[in-house]
Amino acid sequence: ALKTKSTLALLALGLLFNFTSAAQDLPLANGQEYTIGEIEVTGNVSFNEQTIIAYTGLKKGEKIFIPGDRISKVLKKLWDVGSFSDVNIYVTNIDGNVADLELEIQEVPALANVRIQGIKKKKQEEFIKENKLNKGTKVTENLLTTTKNYIQNTFKEEGFLNTKVVMNTVPVEDTLNRNTVNLVVNVDKGERVKIEDIEISGNEAFSDARLKRAMKKTKEQKFLRFWKRSKFIPEEYEADKQKILSIYKERGYRDARIVSDSLIHVDENDVTLNINLEEGNRYYFGDIEFVGNSVYSDQELRRRLGISKGDVYNGVLLEKQIADNTKPDANDLTNLYQNNGYLFSNINPVEVRVYNDTIDFEIRIREGKVAYFDEITVIGNDKTKDHVIYREMRTKPGHKYSKEAVVRTVRELGQLGFFDAENLTPDFKEVDQNSGTVDLEYSVVEAGASQIELQGGYGGGGFVGTLGLSFNNFSLSGLFDKDAYKPLPMGDGQTLSLRAQASTYYQTYSLSFSEPWWGGKKPVRLSTSLQHTEQYFYDYRNREADKDRKFSISGITLGLARRLTVPDDFFVLSTAVAFQHYNLSNYNTGLFTFGDGYSNNFSLTLGLTRDNTFSNPIFPMGGSKFEIIAKLTPPYSLFNDIDYANLGDQKEYQLQNENGVLINRQGRPLRDGEDPVPDQGKIDQEKYKWLEFYKIKFNGTWYTNIYEKLVLRTHAEYGFLGAYNNDRGIPPFERFYLGGDGMGTYSMDGREAIALRGYPNQSLIPVDRGVMSSATDNDGATIYNKYSLELRYPITLKPTASIYGLTFLEAGASFDDFKDYNPFQINRSAGAGIRIFMPAFGLLGIDFGYGFDPLPGETQANGWETHFIIGQQF
């Protein structure tokens, strides 16, 4: 190409125009029309020539004016990219009316390295990340300015008002001529600006101290204030001035205002604030009239409003009773309308008359049309299937709009545990006032819902291995679909857990599955589980397990639970049938007096639960949970005509030798006059062939939000195990063992471990079990009660890990008989701990508890105990 820069240096930018004329080209000054010949790009380093030409839209053979509007627009377009520090267009050659063009560009340098000086490393990294100061980023003026402002503002928000930021760019010497620069940022944040004094004048109704207390973030410098440091942050100060005014407005001083306020620099880092107030008069509510209401009567509205004539005027309360923006489920006037379809309703209080110290109000209501939900959609569910989400929703197409339904849907979707509860948002779309419809889109973010437990270790003289898998959003239907394995079939909201534990002398396996919406029509939860445990006789002398002597338990459980609608839909009714078979072969346990034999446990469990805790299942902020459970076996002894009291009188339950001859304890045949001896093993085998008992339990838990995120958990529980037939007695199964972490340890007798921190595991045997009692420490109680108070405060509630700290007070006791029952004879404890919940591991925690009372048989307070908590909540 010819390089005769005989150039018309056409246009240097900036002179140029906002020609609003349309796309076609217009000549400028004495512009002439040319046809474009060759187009050449010079000066480009990282950009492709073709890319630049394509971007300008200029094409060979196109007709343009030089100089002309088209050329100037091309220049502007290139400038707007922000990647060039200079752009010029030259005509390099003119042949007839064909003009060759040269686009000369100078690229903005790219960033090589960045160094931030004068602040901590963590902050440096944050600034680099927030401003995207990455290698290769184009260093434009805009980048430098926004970075500088960002840094200054960040420190300003922390009270460093005098922060200085200097940005330097240093070109990098580079043989490849790559046009890069290093960026050096010097930050001098200076001293934090503190408030030496706050002077308030003009206040009579409230003291200086009261008003200063109202300012939450703007505090005077004081020697003993560690917890809230004095710092001056302009935005916070503005907000705090409003807080002072709301103290007045809440107490009748409607006209209170800040007449003037000033900031005086005492020295570079200290300021004094002067606030001059005018209180005005104290007012009272006068008549309150409702205008425009047709759906609700004045009386209904007045009751909801809760303000009557003569009350001290309180603008803040009035606003709150009409529309409380801090609580989505507030009991205010707006929600009365919003929860019943009136999406477009609008409520406005207007002062209609002010006389003396009284204000009359008119509450003007525009009810608008009733709105109905139209399309309800979900986005973001890349694992959980639609039907699992839609079935939980309370917002349905064609149903009346209700804000409460939206709030509850969000809450309940969060409780499923499949989504990040803090990140669930409903978006109103296509809100159409004419047709009275609103579309709703729920945006969800999937969260990990599976847990894996893998353990190995030495215990009980051998290796113990545990493998546990729990899938909380499983899909059974996906099992046979090879495309569903990603890596496992998921998304039907089912739960599958598998657990296997094995050591040299025992093995236990369990499998459980549950489907929360059996049949998909109604929320009927179906759960099934299978377990099998085998325990071998362990010979401690030669340290071997004898596989011929064993005790095995096999069990199956089948349960159904359904959500009720009456009395309200927080109620769940559950039923379960369970069957367990115990088999002993030449194996003596503490449970049975016989070493060969069997026992069956067939039971029906009925439970009624009401749970309205919300909204994060890991950390409920409010609501309560009640549970009453009855576990019953059939009352066999009512029908089978066996006289359990006198079994020992019958020959077949008396000691005898192989030939059926009755014998005495020494094994010799009975002599004349000698009484036959009852065979306790045979009697018990008869008693426990089919276990017979009934068990009733009650649990109540309340969550109270005390302040910010501080939550009090109040809990009480009771349990009772009884026999239908006292001659047959209460079996040694299904009993309560109080104390410790309450985790279900390895046990074969269906025992229930009840947590009571501050004492060793299962150590609190019934208080009145005397020395003469035949019961041993190994026998559980048949009655217990437990109370607990726990204060919780979250450290973080992120979906990756939720962490909270807690302190607790607990008390409980267990008993053998109702006649011993004494609700005040309890073992008390107190302590503190921490819980960490990670989706992949479940709940982990550690508690330190101090037991104030002695253990049974001891005289001194039990003292400190440490409890590790895995996978279960107190």
Binding site: Q50, A54, Y372, D382, D386, Y390, R391, P397, K521
Partner: protein, 255 residues
């Protein structure tokens, strides 16, 4: 493998380029373990692409890079890289192929109907862009087929959600949802089912109502029956619909 490792660590971009190109061509021709070759080529491409950005070889390199992702079934990155190629090299002779493979990548990314359909919607629009831009393409048939498949997937999603309202006995919701479906997707293969279940929802809603509300609701159901009958007089569900209609008539007489 030692040879390859040396190339990988070498500073000679020319050598890397030729090695990567050979690996890519061999894999493309199906020689040996092609997945393995693509994977090896990919590691080299990853190093080369930033080096050659804006250089003459960049065009071919970008195409091979995108295509390697495509062949390795990494459709997310393939879609993105093909898209970049189409934007950067509008003059390329591979433009049509790249545009098609880019769109098809989104087709592969589209999940089952019961999950979030963002990728499906994107796939439809990319496929439509291809169809509009290359009307003469020999890939037109396939493009149309794939676009239709994606559209039917969206229709199925909407239909199944409406059907779930019917299944869970939320009849008002079902009627509204089927109604929206019918007006939104007039040519859908689920249209007959939608019309029938809209009628059935209205019918079940009516007969389970209090007496005072029943006449109006029965009349509605009858109207929906007529809609169904008009479009599908010989339809799959006509017998069931007729039985329900008879019941409506009996009920109307009793009232």
């Amino acid at each position: 493998c030692g040879e390859y490792q040396k190339v990988l660590k070498s500073k000679d971009t020319g050598l890397k380029y030729s090695t990567a190109e050979n690996l890519y061509n061999e894999a493309k021709a199906g020689e040996g373990n092609s997945r393995r070759k693509y994977r090896k080529a990919l590691r080299l491409f990853e190093q080369l692409v930033p080096e050659f950005r804006g250089k003459p070889q960049g065009q071919k390199l970008t195409f091979m890079f995108a295509d390697t992702y495509y062949e390795l079934n990494d459709y997310f990155l393939a879609g993105y890289q093909f898209e970049r190629f189409v934007e950067s090299y509008p003059e390329s002779e591979k433009l049509e192929e790249a545009a098609f493979k880019g769109a098809k990548s989104y087709y592969f990314l589209s999940p089952a109907y019961y999950l979030d359909q963002t990728e499906t919607i994107k796939g439809i629009s990319k496929m439509q862009e291809f169809i509009n831009r290359f009307p003469e393409s020999e890939r037109m048939d396939e493009a149309n087929k794939l676009a239709t498949e994606l559209r039917v997937k969206l229709e199925r999603k909407t239909y199944e959600i409406a059907k779930q309202y019917h299944h869970t006995e939320s009849y008002v919701a079902a009627i509204t949802a089927f109604d929206n479906f019918i007006s939104q997707y007039p040519g859908s293969p689920f249209r007959e089912k939608a019309l029938y279940y809209k009628f059935e929802s209205a019918y079940l809603y009516a007969i389970n109502s209090y007496a005072y509300a029943m006449p109006e609701r029965l009349a509605n159901a009858r109207e929906y029956f007529e809609d169904y009958q008009r479009y599908y007089p010989e339809g799959e569900y006509i017998e069931m619909a007729n039985t329900a209609l008879k019941d409506i008539e009996t009920k109307e007489q009793q009232l």
